[in-house]
Symmetry: C2
Subunit: 109 residues, 2 copies
């Protein structure tokens, strides 16, 4: 059941477009403050804080407080439950075998 709960948290967190955009912006930055995330988001700072709370609970972001700032960074490991879930449906390797070869060479030439 824990797995299902986790998946629901994750999927619900990612289902909202605004929140997904927040996650993408956090990921694309090394670190980013709430104010910076608010800028150009189209919603208020309060809303951004709420989205960050959801993302944090889903394990997708983490924070680092510094003075009156709070810097967020991505935690893409939080996507693992989703990967595991999808793995069951064999969608990972389908149509990806060509990439596999070049990737392997890259790792172990």
């Amino acid at each position: 059941m824990t797995e299902a709960v986790t998946m629901s948290n994750l999927m619900r967190a990612l289902a909202d477009p605004t929140r997904r955009t927040v996650f993408e912006r956090v990921f694309d930055s090394e670190e980013i403050s709430v104010a910076d995330l608010t800028r150009g988001s189209g919603v208020t700072q309060g809303a951004i804080s709420q989205h960050l709370k959801s993302l944090k609970q889903a394990g997708l972001v983490a924070e680092r407080a510094e003075g009156r700032h709070v810097f967020y960074h991505a935690a893409p490991e939080g996507l693992e439950p989703l990967v595991t879930w999808m793995d069951h449906y064999g969608v990972f390797w389908r149509d990806r075998f060509t990439n596999l070869r070049s990737l392997l060479k890259e790792i172990d030439p």
Copy 2:
């Protein structure tokens, strides 16, 4: 924007536990009728039909009508947009390199 809409459809479809269970049951069966899906689902037949509609719009299932029955089957290709989205976050290959080698041997021994 189409991409975002697709992603939202997909994520929203998979966010609900009941609907996710429906998808899993459809996937695990070659084909399955609405009545069979309703059985043991804990919700009414109407609810199941609604979930199937969502899943269909998300591209995760397809149907085949036969007489008064409608048989559903999974369309796991519908998960591709999710795979593509996650690919951007590098979660696929992380911790999967060991599997990679054996998989490659399997493909091209």
